[in-house]
Symmetry: C2
Subunit: 335 residues, 2 copies
C-alpha cells in the first residue's frame, strides 16, 4: 500500500466509537512510525436524549452529541480544547450540557448550517480525518418489540426498562442520508462497526437503504467489534451469535468478515455492579462461524475505568482499551 493511504471507516456513535477512533488516531499520528491511515467516522444522528435531546427540542438543531465525541477523538489540538469540548456543566443553567454541544448548536443557529458548524469545529479541534453525519436531516428511530409495542425515539429506547425484546428498529419517517456516508463506505479499504449499543448507536446508521446497500456493495474488509457488556432493555442476555443475527435483517446473511471479541473476564467488582443493574457480559458462543467469518479474541479490556462525570458513572465502568483495540485492528489493516 506504499504511497496510498488505507481508507478506514468507523461507523457508529457514542463512547464505543470514541474509543476506536482515539486508538486509531493515536496510532496513525505516532510521530516515530506514522501509518498510512485516512480515518473517517460515520456517525449516527438519531440521539434524542439528554443534552442532545434538549438542544434538538429547544433550538431545532441537529443532534450534536455523537458528532462531538467523534471530533474530539480525532482532535490534534491542545488538550485544553479537547477538554473544553467534552466539558459537562454539572450545575446551574447549563446543567447536563457539554460545551461541545453548545458550540455546535450556537454555530448551527448562527450559520443556518450544521455542516458549517461541523467545519468550524474541525478547524478549531484540528481533526485528523473526517467526521460524517449519517444524515443532515432531523431523523428519529422507532423500536418494534415482540409484544407488538412500538417505542418512539432514541431516548425512550435507551431507557433501561424491563420490557419485551426488540424485534427490529426503523426510521420514524423516511429522510435522506448524507450522500458522503455511502460514498465513503464504497471507497473504504476497512470498515469497523461498533462497539456500541446496536439498536441506538450502530444499526440506526444502516436504516438508510443507500447506506446499507453501500456497505453491502463495498469491497472493504468488514470488522465487527463486539461490546463487552449487554445493555438492559436492548440486548438483555444476548450472546455473540445473537448480536451477529441482529445485524442480518439490515446487512444480509454475512454482515462481517471478521469479528473481534474480548476474551479477558470482567473483574469481579464491576461484574457485581453491572449484575445489580441487570447487565451481563457477552458470551462468545460461536465456535464455528458460518460463511467463513473469522473470530479474533484477545485481551482488549482497559485497565482504566474512566469516570467521565459524576452523573455518568454507570456508563463508564468497563471499557475497551483504545491502544489494544487499535493494535488488533492494525494487524487486520496490514499497513
Amino acid at each position: 500500500m506504499a504511497g496510498k493511504k488505507s481508507q478506514v471507516v468507523v461507523i457508529g456513535g457514542g463512547t464505543g466509537t470514541f474509543v476506536v477512533l482515539s486508538g486509531l488516531k493515536s496510532a496513525a499520528s505516532n510521530a516515530k512510525n506514522p501509518l498510512g491511515l485516512a480515518i473517517t467516522a460515520i456517525v449516527t444522528m438519531m440521539d434524542s436524549g439528554g443534552s442532545t435531546g434538549r438542544l434538538r427540542d429547544q433550538y431545532g438543531v441537529l443532534p450534536p452529541g455523537d458528532i462531538r465525541q467523534a471530533l474530539v477523538a480525532l482532535s490534534d489540538s491542545d488538550e485544553l480544547w479537547r477538554k473544553l469540548f467534552l466539558y459537562r456543566f454539572e450545575e446551574g443553567d447549563f446543567r447536563g450540557h457539554n460545551f461541545g454541544n453548545i458550540f455546535l448548536a450556537a454555530l448551527e443557529r448562527i450559520s443556518g448550517s450544521f455542516q458549517k458548524a461541523l467545519y468550524m469545529a474541525q478547524e478549531v479541534l484540528q481533526t485528523q480525518g473526517s467526521v460524517i453525519p449519517v444524515t443532515l436531516k432531523q431523523a428519529n428511530i422507532v423500536a418494534h418489540l415482540t409484544d407488538g409495542t412500538v417505542i418512539h425515539g432514541e431516548r425512550l429506547i435507551d431507557e433501561q426498562d424491563e420490557r419485551a425484546p426488540i424485534v427490529r428498529i426503523a426510521l420514524e419517517e423516511n429522510v435522506e442520508p448524507n450522500p458522503e456516508a455511502a460514498q465513503k463506505l464504497l471507497e473504504a479499504d476497512v470498515i469497523v462497526v461498533g462497539p456500541g449499543d446496536i439498536y441506538t448507536s450502530i444499526l440506526p446508521n444502516f436504516l438508510f437503504p443507500e447506506v446499507a446497500t453501500a456497505y453491502q456493495n463495498s469491497h472493504a474488509h468488514k470488522i465487527y467489534i463486539a461490546n463487552l457488556m449487554n445493555k438492559k432493555g436492548q440486548t438483555d442476555n444476548y450472546t455473540l451469535q445473537q448480536y451477529i443475527d441482529a445485524f442480518k435483517p439490515y446487512l444480509g446473511e454475512r454482515p462481517f468478515d471478521t469479528i473481534i471479541i474480548n476474551s479477558t473476564p470482567v473483574p469481579h467488582e464491576q461484574l457485581t455492579y453491572y449484575k445489580e443493574h441487570g447487565e451481563t457480559p457477552i458470551i462468545n458462543d460461536i465456535s464455528q462461524p458460518a460463511h467463513d467469518m473469522r473470530i479474533i479474541t484477545g485481551d482488549l479490556l482497559s485497565p482504566n475505568r474512566p469516570v467521565i462525570s459524576a452523573s455518568d458513572v454507570a456508563r463508564s465502568m468497563v471499557r475497551h482499551d483504545p491502544h489494544r483495540l487499535a493494535k488488533t485492528l492494525l494487524q487486520l489493516i496490514h499497513v
Copy 2:
C-alpha cells in the same frame, strides 16, 4: 512617531467601549493606510447582572461579559467567530446567555484560570491588541446615595429605579487590581475614557487606588468621550459639567485634557422613546472649560440603530458612530 507605535489605552466596559475599540481597530488595520496604533482595553470586572451575574453566582467564575465585548471589538477573525461570541440564546436552557460568556466560563472552570481562558479566546478571535481585566479577583461595587441608602452590587445599581442621586461608588471589599492595568496606563500615549455608564462601567476601574494613581501620573493625553444620553437611576438629567465633576473625587480636579461630545441632535423618534423611559440627552453646558481642558464637538451620532437582540432594544437605540469617533480620536492622536 515613525517607527514607534502610539500606545492607545481605552478604559471602560460595555457597549460604549465596544464602539470605541471597533472604530480604532478598524482604522488601525485599514490595509491601505495602516496606522501605528497599539490598542489596549482595560475592562471593568464588576458586572453582576444578567448572564454575567448568573455565571458568577452559579459557577464562581469571573464576570465574562465586558471582556467578551472588548475581545470581539478587537477581533480580526472570520465574521462567524465574532457573531458566535456575541450570539445570545433567546430561549431554552441557555436563555439570555451569550455564547462568548459560556466559552469563557467553561474554560475558566477547566483551566482554573481566567487569564488562560482569556488567552484562548484572544487566540481564536485573533484579537489585535490586548484586553486587560482591571482585576483578576472577584470584586463588587456599592453606591452611596444622597439619602444615605447604600446599594450593593452592579446589578442593583444598574436598575433604572426612581431613587435619590448617587453620591459616590466604592469597592465593597478591597481587592487587588491586575498590575498590568496600572502599567499600561503609565506607558500610554493616549488614554480614552468612556463612553459608558459612569457609575457601573467607567468609574469602577478607578476604584483601585493603584489604577487611579497610575492614571493621574501618566503623561498620556487623556480624552473623555461623553455619553449621548443620561441613564435613569444613575445620572438623571446630568449636564456635561456634572459628568466632569463626577470624575473629580476619583481622578482629581483636572481629570481630562480633552472632552469629546456629540453636537448633533438626537432624532425626534428616539428622543420620544427615551423620554418615555425617563432619559434625556446630555446638554453641553461648558462654554469656558476650567484648567485648560479642551472641548471638541462634532457629529458623532451613528446613522444606524443596531438592535443587538430582541430583549435588548432599549440599550441599542442611540449609538456613537465608531468611524466618526475614531476619526476624531485619530486627529488627537496625531499618528
